[in-house]
Symmetry: C3
Subunit: 421 residues, 3 copies
Amino acid sequence: MLKHDDNELLARVGPGTPMGELFRRLWLPALMPSELPEPDCAPVRLRILGEDLVAFRDTEGRIGILQEFCPHRRASLFFGRNEECGLRCVYHGWKFDVEGRCTDMPSEPPETDFKHKVRMTAYPSLEWGGLIWIYMGPPERKPSPPEYEWALLPAAQRWQRKWIYEANYFQGMEGEIDTCHTSFLHAYKDKSSLVANLAKAHDAWQADKAPQLTVRRAPYGLYYGSRRNLGDGQYNWRITQWLLPTFSLIPQPGYPVSCRGYVPIDDHRTMVFNTSYNREAPMPAEDIEKLETGMTAAPELIPGTFLPVTNMANDYMIDREVQRTVSSTGIPGVNNQDRALVETMGPIVDRSKEHLGTSDAAVILARRIMLEHAKALAAGEEPLPTDGSIYRVRSLDVTTAIPDLDTLVATHGAELEVAAA
Amino acid sequence: MLKHDDNELLARVGPGTPMGELFRRLWLPALMPSELPEPDCAPVRLRILGEDLVAFRDTEGRIGILQEFCPHRRASLFFGRNEECGLRCVYHGWKFDVEGRCTDMPSEPPETDFKHKVRMTAYPSLEWGGLIWIYMGPPERKPSPPEYEWALLPAAQRWQRKWIYEANYFQGMEGEIDTCHTSFLHAYKDKSSLVANLAKAHDAWQADKAPQLTVRRAPYGLYYGSRRNLGDGQYNWRITQWLLPTFSLIPQPGYPVSCRGYVPIDDHRTMVFNTSYNREAPMPAEDIEKLETGMTAAPELIPGTFLPVTNMANDYMIDREVQRTVSSTGIPGVNNQDRALVETMGPIVDRSKEHLGTSDAAVILARRIMLEHAKALAAGEEPLPTDGSIYRVRSLDVTTAIPDLDTLVATHGAELEVAAA
Amino acid sequence: MLKHDDNELLARVGPGTPMGELFRRLWLPALMPSELPEPDCAPVRLRILGEDLVAFRDTEGRIGILQEFCPHRRASLFFGRNEECGLRCVYHGWKFDVEGRCTDMPSEPPETDFKHKVRMTAYPSLEWGGLIWIYMGPPERKPSPPEYEWALLPAAQRWQRKWIYEANYFQGMEGEIDTCHTSFLHAYKDKSSLVANLAKAHDAWQADKAPQLTVRRAPYGLYYGSRRNLGDGQYNWRITQWLLPTFSLIPQPGYPVSCRGYVPIDDHRTMVFNTSYNREAPMPAEDIEKLETGMTAAPELIPGTFLPVTNMANDYMIDREVQRTVSSTGIPGVNNQDRALVETMGPIVDRSKEHLGTSDAAVILARRIMLEHAKALAAGEEPLPTDGSIYRVRSLDVTTAIPDLDTLVATHGAELEVAAA
């Protein structure tokens, strides 16, 4: 459990909040490239960390992410005309380039130099790993690009989707680093509907429902190993990586593995970016098709939106007869199951009323690290590294006789790292 | 009128409020039995007095009403699996029985006794009089079942419906103990659309529109007599019972009579439970059909919901031509007429701006009693009896030459009581 | 820019606010006559300056505008029965005349004189210039009818429409007295879709996009001239009148001219009343048809409502291909373009973040005058005249060699005035 004040500290990410400042020390996924498909395409609205922004791709293909409202009279630049290397406000014609400079101010007499005095908020962006990223912090603290394994792969080896999550970012994050729930939330009596690697994982999850967790701090966040006793001196180990504050690497036996990032829209809503990938080869069409169904790592979306079809308003399409006979939830799809339980806790779960057990060890440490970092930053320290190569880590799902995490890591260390290029 | 502070005191019923505590000294209707039709059926969400709850019927047929959110990590037990005498949270498998005990905690190692330390809020329930009731107060103050006449009758002699009321509970309650409005709100130029006993009452209501009220306190709340002068030395008397805080018994000439209870969902919404009944015999199908139409004691509902078809969003289907030529409101159905006027006062009516007359005597005393009781309870007294037999009272509609209430009660006393079994 | 406190002072208009009091010194448009078409027609709800009201036309044709809620028990008089020179509350039959007097109280014994003690808020109304007006201030300060030119014309010479504006009134007002934006927001590459006088104005707007503004105070508010340099020693002058707080007269070359008033529903929503008119002759059917399309001075409405078809929820039907090739916005219709930019600033724009230029001179002075007047009124002065003849002014669109506003006004003074009757 957390005291009320710490729960607020953990959850609030708007401008000026300690946790919001921590987020503003990192590259964050902001958009899918398909939202800005070509030079001079339509600008798009986005909201990140409680800030209203507008993004556009200029004539040269550069991406600009600006404050949504024109500094002149606060008209929305969503309606702006994207033309000749700048986004022009259609209210009075002020034009801004990708760096927020006013490059034209036709409403004022040419002799004034007012346009040079106007500068709007513009955040650096990055096209990297199949996503468009944003950095909203101080320029001198801008990290190098985060070298997630999937970000380094050719595009054909990954599949990506984003969607809106109707709760605070950290609730989703906690579900990701909570291996224990897989034995229950994703339990099936009839596994025939599961994809291959999920069906394989399912057997281990059912073999031992009270995994023993060992948790370790790391420069990028933490990792933990969950040990499930399979009998005959064999253990299923899952090592999960948490790359604070938004990403995790969940172990899966075989392929694909998936990585989801939780980027706060504001305190109550989150944009999730999922990448499912194959480390070794392009993903064949039939595997993409399975991902597209919305039954695995990412939900099906309402066409033309980033809103899941299966959502709070329809009780996540729960079918009580299916719950009785096929799966523990009666909710179709693994990701839908996750969202159902976590979104309905409320926009910000009241952690002062929890009762945590030993299976919550990773969640407990992750919260502690977040709070420590936010407090350190507020005290003038810089707790986060700016070197993107620290994210070259992997999760691991392995069955072995090794009984403790540190020996396991010593033995399988190479499998936990992404080799240098 | 009420001062602002008293109005707040009257209306607010959440945990810890004085009026909320008063409600928590009584059995309250919570659900229709059809919502929990059989052992191990789907759990249902409910919200009472501002508390989010989940109800289920276990394998043995017992009803459990628990806090909605699992004490572990606050997942909603609405998604829980109802199995083998307990509701199992599908997030990490914790299982709870109808009394809120954790009977299984498979996510923790078997050697821990953590499950014995976890207890969640569970409220006693009661199947009684065709409804499922809840008691949310201190165990030592739990009353015996409330012996409303309809609760003691065979099921075939009553018809029941519940619906959501879009306003504070006491606004609805005030409409019930306000006999005067019947002469106006339920006035028809053309009575042909009215059911028989309503048409009969209508004549008296029109004969004297300024009834003289006499009000008397009672252990269960109050009763009052309204006297309408029919001429020739004859009076129509209506004695209405108010069984605080939620029920009233409205007199009707003949059959059926109806009793409605107003149970706060929270401060702004109410769940109303209506029972229409025949004291003497099963209700024939044609009478049930009339009740099902939604034109009399209870509204028609949008299928699959407890929301009235005729509601605020459609201006209660007011037809101005009908208002001009047939009825005073142009709104179809007596209950719809009541809801139209009371819900649109706003979620909590501003009683500081009222101008009350002599016809409001019962409303005035009911408020006073509620405020006195809530203040007494907050001061450590226990103003409410716990003996459910005090509710064995009846309303009365009679025409007589007797000019005063106390003589009337002395004369007709037996008709105002439900005989001992 | 405005400081936060001044922005609040400018925007808030509820009962008791300084700006709300300023509004309560003037006749304000309240309803279209079609909303109260005949004696004893259905009453209508309206909300003005944050006050909930109900309007009706009595048997004699008089208009009453009363507080919405009955002074007895606060039932809504929207459901009232409009009969025999009064609106009767259908809850207990209290009846009120157009001046708010209780003329019948049948729920009380005839011997009481309670009805003479009850008086409800009733505001004077006026049928004038094709609209129904309301005055909500102190009786002794009630102005004479505002003699706008269009209000003095025969009905056949004007076309009127009202609609709901989803933002604070002053945002809309600022758009009206901001001639500069016409060069940008209403710019077309292909003018073929424009009506004749708009196409003519368009040429001047494009010829000089940085008009030079000269601003002058006036007893009714202000006027300003914007000078656009057409070359060859010729200037296009537009003189716009601002008749505080709600009306403006926008110059147009030729006919029709339009006048819009912005009446606050509350702090976040506004009712706009548009009058398009011809000073000289009835408007032919084909000109009315053009206005009805919603492409010029007023938007098309969702049938049965005052809600524009083109609105925030559908991004004002922006078409990015049209924005690329035909018009600067890609939004159909001049008024829709205006609303798109101003409504999306938010319910109350944050003026503390603006950067104003020389083209904002009229906006700046208008704010100053509003704040001065509101503060003066709060200090016990009466800054507004009560003589409705001060509004007999006109706007002007003229091309001339005169280089300064004061000479222009001296020369064209007669064209800026409405002749005495």
